[in-house]
């Protein structure tokens, strides 16, 4: 069972997406901000991270950069999830180190395909 770390500050979206992922057989742990990502990665060792970009404090881009530059766990697959839909937003997320990019509203089937393609890489 793949463990997914969902980083999302919006309570409704966090609840909705985590429930949908659990229904599809994933184990989901949640973070509300970018600060707690590193500690959760360390303690929970997730297989994939779903990262919202607009977060209070450390945003998703910065959280991704920090993870990529850290000594350990720096190659966990990260999928950016954001309501910013411009090409430049995707480019920014990719250059920060995200492996994939999905816009909100989430197309669940497409997101699941990406999770499956990336997990364990």
């Amino acid at each position: 069972m793949t463990k997914i770390l969902l980083v999302e500050d919006n309570q409704m979206n966090r609840d909705m997406l985590s429930r949908r992922l659990i229904r599809r057989g994933y184990e989901v742990i949640c973070a509300e901000d970018g600060e707690s990502v590193a500690a959760l990665v360390e303690s929970e060792n997730p297989g994939v991270i779903l990262m919202d970009i607009s977060l209070p404090g450390i945003d998703g881009l910065e959280a991704t950069r920090r993870l990529r530059n850290s000594e350990k766990n720096n190659n966990i697959p990260i999928i950016a999830l954001t309501a910013h839909a411009f090409e430049s937003d995707e480019l920014e997320a990719r250059s920060a180190g995200c492996n994939e990019f999905e816009t909100k509203p989430i197309d669940l089937e497409r997101l699941l395909a990406k999770i499956e393609a990336l997990k364990g890489k």
Binding site: M16, N75, A83, R94, T103, K104, P105
Partner: protein, 577 residues
């Protein structure tokens, strides 16, 4: 009246008439002339004043117009950025609306609550409709603000037709329509923006299927004349009256308001298609008769888009004769975690005389690239450790490796993303070996490529330069601050310097001074992008070697490309003399 004239006339009159008579008549005559003269003078002054007034008025009107124009432009920009923000704000709640409806639909499907499911589906469908609308409005905003990028690539139009039909097959079944496509297998490849053409075809064919019941929709490619290519979408549907045809391409306007109720849709598809066509130097025409079907035709005015390709040829002719590099220096760096892929590549590249050095991940890419100085780097995307996207970004960030061409060789088809991140070309596996060979051939002679020194710090602009310079087989060297600039200028002879004074780390004045003092680059043409003529030495301007592009915001790559061609053309002339 003029004194001299009066005296002459007085003399003439006194010779002709008796003195008293003469005196009287003459006085009257003089008086009337004087009056005429004065009134003429008054008229003139009046006219002059009127003229002055009206020209002042005209001037004010002009200034008003100018102000109104600036205001409109600012307002338009504000509108676009407002729309971009709104799009974000609307997507977030929509995510919850669509997501929760889908979640509950899944959950209750096991409980047999069919009535609730039907109504939930209405919420979900409306959410998706709203999302489509937001996407369309965003597209229009991007077009209006000039942010719509064009990604040119060579592709097979027949293949695109098949793909479009596959996507629309389920929609065709809804109205019991038959969907066909027709094209000759001998059609040439075309160069355009595949994604946008696909969106146009989906919009036009989607409409055709919507307004046709139990009929046929046919997509056909043909060449109306050499160099042009047309795709027609013909349906046997309800057709339109001439009145309705006129309003067709305006945003938010469907043929009539009943149409919206009966057939749905946002009314933006055609407006966007028309704008896309405009950007791609194409046109959409329509023929229709009420009750007798409609035919839309998309015509690409130039099968091979942008006249750059023609100019490329001119640039090639100007290049010095290539001298082959010694074999030991024809190195290629392969970065791929799949050993089989590396072996295959090594064998293939070996046959073409390339020496291969391979890495299993991107982590050591920079060190290795600096050490072996490869002519090109072939890069996979998915790799353990550092993946291809990150590797490419790192390579492009490092001044010592940013000039090495990188080619993606990978399973995932993300061509436009790869190119926008700075790759020179993109190959999906299985690899088209003959195309790869021809691309690599173009790098063989990089030693004698003309060199350009660039000082551009803005990443997208720099990226655009690299693409452009690679495409005309020029080599770019970077200097991002004044000290580096001065060092490079004194070490290497350049064929062109592009000096970007908008880069804060570049001191335009002292760079220009270095250029005029330096012996090896004394005649090198300079393209200077600046917002002030103060940076420019007048003597250099007069000698004609410095060309200035005045701009106060961002460097305009199109303008620079044009100027480079002009410089090339001039040099060619000089060489011929």
């Amino acid at each position: 009246m003029h004194k001299l004239l009066e005296r002459q006339l007085r003399k003439f009159f006194s010779e002709q008439l008796e003195s008293r008579m003469a005196d009287k008549s003459f006085s009257d005559f003089c008086l009337s002339i004087g009056q005429a003269y004065t009134s003429h003078q008054d008229d003139r002054e009046l006219l002059e004043r009127a003229l002055e007034l009206s020209s002042r008025e005209l001037n004010e009107k002009n200034q008003d117009l100018q102000r109104a124009r600036t205001f409109a432009e600012t307002a338009n920009k504000a509108k676009s950025s407002f729309l971009a923000n709104m799009s974000h704000e609307m997507r977030t709640p929509l995510n919850a609306i669509i997501g929760y409806s889908e979640l509950i639909l899944e959950e209750i499907s096991e409980l047999n609550h069919d009535e609730i499911a039907v109504e939930l589906d209405k919420i979900r469908t409306s959410g998706n409709h709203l999302l489509g609308l937001i996407n369309n409005v965003l597209d229009l905003a991007k077009i209006e603000s000039g942010h719509m990028d064009v990604n040119l690539e060579e592709f097979d139009i027949g293949g695109l037709l098949k793909e479009t039909c596959t996507i629309l097959q389920s929609q065709a079944l809804k109205n019991k329509n038959k969907l066909h496509y027709e094209f000759e297998s001998t059609l040439p490849q075309i160069t355009s923006d595949r994604g946008k053409i696909k969106q146009i075809l989906i919009n036009l064919s989607g409409n055709a299927l919507k307004f046709t019941k139990e009929g046929e929709v046919t997509l056909r490619v043909f060449e109306p004349e050499p160099q042009k290519i047309s795709i027609s979408i013909r349906d046997s549907g309800i057709g339109m009256s001439p009145d309705k045809l006129k309003k067709l391409f305006q945003p938010f306007i469907q043929a009539d308001s009943d149409t919206q109720k009966k057939f749905g849709g946002t009314g933006l598809g055609l407006a966007i298609s028309a704008k896309f066509a405009e950007i791609l130097d194409a046109a959409i025409t329509v023929e229709s008769k009420e009750g007798d079907g409609t035919q839309f035709t998309l015509t690409l005015n130039n099968r091979v888009q942008s006249e750059k390709s023609k100019l490329h040829k001119a640039a090639h002719n100007f290049l010095p004769n290539p001298a082959m590099r010694p074999d030991t220096e024809r190195r290629v760096l392969l970065i791929d975690d799949d050993q089989n892929a590396i072996e295959l590549m090594r064998r293939f590249l070996g046959r073409h005389g390339f020496d291969c050095i391979s890495l299993k991940s991107g982590a050591q890419a920079i060190e290795e690239a600096i050490r072996i100085q490869p002519v090109a780097i072939l890069l996979d995307v998915f790799m353990p450790g550092m993946d291809g996207w990150t590797t490419l970004s790192r390579l492009k960030e490092n001044a010592e490796t940013s000039g090495i061409p990188v080619i993606f060789t990978t399973m995932t088809d993300e061509r436009s993303l790869g190119l926008s991140l700075g790759a020179i070309d993109y190959f999906t596996k299985p690899i088209d070996w003959s195309r790869l060979a021809s691309v690599l051939k173009s790098f063989e002679r990089s030693d004698c490529k003309p060199k350009v020194l660039i000082t551009e710090a803005d990443f997208p602009t720099k990226n655009a330069f690299y693409h452009f310079l690679e495409s005309i087989h020029w080599q770019a060297v970077e200097a991002l601050d004044t000290a580096t600039f001065q060092r490079k200028i004194s070490e290497v002879k350049f064929d062109l310097v592009i000096l970007d004074c908008l880069n804060k780390s570049i001191d335009g004045m002292s760079c220009m001074k270095t250029l005029s003092d330096c012996a090896i680059n004394q005649t090198t043409p300079v393209l200077c992008c600046t917002n002030s003529m103060n940076d420019i030495d007048n003597a250099e301007l007069l000698k004609g070697r410095v060309k200035v592009i005045l701009t106060d915001t961002q460097v305009d790559t199109e303008k620079i490309e044009k100027s480079i061609y002009e410089i090339l053309a001039n040099q060619k002339k000089v060489n011929e003399i």
